[in-house]
């Protein structure tokens, strides 16, 4: 089957970016939005078409095989280390194509209403196109270096979009923070790539993931500081993934990234870019599994810790977007856990579950963000203290938000239930401690989501300056679509499509896992209802009882302060400033000293050039005498 048309999936967004970006203000803003949205609709259609033709062609004997749809040499480092730019189609990337283009299309449509009348509307659509391009390029990468290239590009589009309101200092700071933190993580990624590629002699995923090949054999056996080189490399690569996916302790940028426009948060910081880390680990999963099992263990624990940590913080935040941001962290933690505990082949439940959760999460989290955007659009505030009782004013938003909350809480038969359940099953089979943590986090998730829900849509009315009203159809349309997707996505026979080896996976229903997880979810909802459904003093008294934990969680466990200390105090004040001083005063001082010495010496010996003949004679004769004596002495 010829997939050459998939090239259009990459070229169209670039074309849109250039058209909208270069035309500047000459393009009417509505035109820019419609152009961008229409372009994206085409891309989404192409992606769906690709997916249908890829999965619909019938399952071959040996499972779904990767297809290289297009490939060109971009840069050659050495004979073997060559960067190709290409399009790789396999179950994983096709699934991602569908997710990204669908969510992106919804966000584009939604933005037509949400961003209406904003300054920089064109710029917004140009950046969205750039982002879509980078993200699509990332998922179809045929080799790890192509992935790194697009990885950086999504980073910069994220920077540009977070800083969209560039006149707002907090947005500028957040954008900077996001870029620098992920950049730091990318340094790890880069070094990981260097290590891996040097030892295997290739960037290609196909060669790296080929376990029968010899590429990976050498770094597995080479040991450096107690761990094999492959483990080091994969850990460093995971560091890149952890930065992009905001895993603890590199998570600090994500909550701040909520300074960007809300649709951007939905697209980039919930559904697509932040799961790039998960995608990265999944993409290299065979290498992780066979060549660096230790690093998988690390991934599982990091994921588990992040999910717990973020869930606790989410219970205390007041800014609704931040609650959602921490919720995202927590859910990505789930995905990481699932990858970390997964096996290969028939035991690859975790892998499948992780990507399944990625798939469903993209829809319901985008829905949550867009719903939150709709609310923010109506009340002009991010704080849940300014909201309440909105169900009367915004029925559609309310309905879709409720569906999303039920989905993330894992209430059957919504999609979140299925994917989370598979993760818990995988964790249960691998490690009981991780399972317990994830089970508890499931309860917390239900609690904080419904805390949010009740605070926004129930509780008592604050005094609105003007009555909130339902958003326009360009915004509610995507909400309804995504709500439908959240409900139905769970019924996709995911285990037939996306598995470690391309072959369908037999999954069974574990009552022992499913029932308790549903129960704790319902318990969380009940607790939230008890505390927040009506205005009362219960939240305060609970906060009083758990005073220390509450305030620590409210301050996000002081991680931001720690980072601030490290960057401002240590790096700026104790490295950068002394370096600048050293350069000015010591290095440059030395150069000036040389110059000044020359000048002062010449000033000093200028006296000798007195013009007084008698002194000259005196110097001359003494010189001659001394020389004569020396010569005599030498002879």
């Amino acid at each position: 089957m010829d997939y050459a048309y998939t090239l259009w999936i990459l070229t169209l967004p670039v074309a849109m970016f250039l058209t909208i970006g270069l035309s500047g203000d000459r393009l009417k803003s509505n035109a820019a939005g419609i152009l961008g949205t229409a372009g994206l609709a085409v891309i989404a259609a192409l992606s769906w078409f690709t997916a249908f033709s890829y999965f619909g062609s019938g399952l071959p004997e040996s499972g779904f095989q990767p297809v290289i749809a297009a490939q060109t040499t971009w840069l050659a480092f050495t004979e073997t280390l060559v960067i190709h730019l290409g399009i790789l189609l396999d179950p994983l990337s096709v699934m991602m194509l569908v997710v990204i283009t669908t969510v992106s299309l919804m966000v584009h449509i939604y933005s037509l209403g949400y961003m209406h009348g904003e300054r920089g509307y064109n710029r917004y659509y140009a950046f969205l196109s750039l982002f879509t391009f980078s993200m699509l390029g990332l998922v179809v990468a045929t080799n790890i270096f192509q992935m790194y290239i697009f990885w950086e590009l999504v980073g910069v589009s994220s920077y540009l979009l977070i800083g969209f309101y560039y006149e707002k200092p907090s947005a500028v700071a957040a954008a900077k923070k996001a870029f620098i933190v992920t950049r730091f993580a990318d340094l790890g990624f880069l070094i990981g790539i260097l290590l891996l590629s040097f030892n295997t002699g290739t960037f290609d995923f196909a060669a790296l993931n080929d376990m029968s090949g010899s590429a990976i054999a050498q770094p597995v056996t080479t040991v450096f500081m107690g761990l094999s080189v492959s483990t080091w490399a994969m850990l460093l690569i995971f560091m890149g993934g952890a930065g992009k996916s905001a895993m603890f302790p590199l998570h600090i940028w994500l909550p701040d990234a909520m300074e960007g426009p809300t649709p951007v948060s939905a697209l980039i910081h919930a559904a697509t870019m932040v799961v790039a880390g998960v995608y990265l680990v999944a993409r290299l999963f065979p290498v992780y599994h066979f060549a660096a099992p230790d690093s998988l263990e690390v991934i599982a624990w990091v994921g588990s810790f992040t999910s717990l940590f973020a869930a606790v913080i989410a219970c205390t935040q007041l800014d609704i977007k931040r609650v959602l941001a921490f919720s995202t962290l927590s859910q990505i933690g789930y995905m990481m856990v699932a990858l970390g505990v997964s096996g290969y082949g028939d035991e690859g439940v975790g892998y499948m579950a992780s990507l399944f959760h990625l798939f469903t999460h993209a829809f319901f989290k985008a829905l949550l963000f867009l719903g939150a955007g709709s609310v923010i659009h109506a009340v002009h505030s991010n704080l849940m203290t300014d909201m309440g009782g909105l169900r009367k004013y915004m029925p559609l938003t309310h309905l879709t938000f409720l569906i999303a909350c039920l989905t993330i809480a894992g209430v059957p038969p919504l999609s979140g239930f299925f994917s989370k359940d598979e993760i818990l099953v995988a964790a249960f089979e691998h490690n009981k401690v991780i399972f317990a943590v994830q089970w508890f986090v499931a309860g917390l998730t239900a609690f904080y989501m419904f805390r949010l829900y009740f605070n926004i849509f129930w509780n008592s009315d604050p005094h609105y300056h003007h009555t909130p009203h339902e958003s326009p159809p360009t915004m509610t349309g995507p909400l309804l679509f995504l709500a439908a997707a959240s409900v139905l996505a769970g019924f996709v026979p995911f285990h037939d499509f996306v598995t470690t080896d391309g072959k369908p996976l037999e999954t069974e229903f574990h009552t022992l896992v499913a029932v308790p997880s549903v129960l704790i979810g319902l318990a969380g909802i009940a607790l939230a209802w008890w505390m927040y459904a009506r205005k009362n003093s219960r939240p305060e008294s609970v906060a009083q009882t758990l005073h220390g934990l509450y305030s620590a969680a409210f301050r996000k466990f002081y991680i931001d302060e720690l980072y601030l200390f490290i960057t401002h105090q240590l790096i700026f004040r104790f490295i950068s400033r002394p370096v600048a001083w050293f350069d000015r005063h010591i290095v440059d001082g030395t150069m000036n000293l040389i110059g000044n010495t020359t000048v002062s010496v010449s000033v000093a010996i200028k006296k000798m050039q007195s013009g007084e003949l008698q002194w000259y004679i005196w110097y001359f004769t003494s010189g001659v005498l001394v020389l004569t004596l020396i010569l005599l002495y030498l002879n």
Partner: protein, 107 residues
């Protein structure tokens, strides 16, 4: 009568060295232009003594040393004439013949 047997060369050299350094000291330490000029003349004469003496003792059959002494004398005479002319001019302009007071060209 053979002078060579009576006065050794060393005596001549000692004499000329003495004259030379007397002249030198005169030039270096005196501030009076006339005295300095006299010092220079002394030094020139010391050289003349050397010329003549070496010529006589080392190359008795040649005359270059003597001639050279004569040339030095001629030059010394010319030099003294120029120098004294300069000194007179300086005296007219500055009303002094002390070198310390004539430093207009310095710096």
């Amino acid at each position: 009568m053979n002078l060579q047997s009576e006065i050794p060369l060393e005596y001549m050299i000692v004499l000329s060295t003495a004259v030379f350094f007397i002249g030198l000291v005169g030039v270096v330490i005196r501030r009076n232009l006339i005295t300095m000029l006299m010092g220079i003349e002394l030094m020139l004469n010391a050289v003349n003594i050397n010329f003549v003496a070496f010529n006589h003792y080392l190359f008795p059959h040649r005359l270059e040393g003597h001639f050279f002494a004569l040339i030095v004398m001629a030059i010394a005479a010319a030099e003294a004439a120029v120098a004294i002319a300069l000194i007179i001019n300086i005296y007219r302009k500055f009303s002094t013949v002390s070198v310390d007071d004539v430093d207009e060209l310095k710096y």
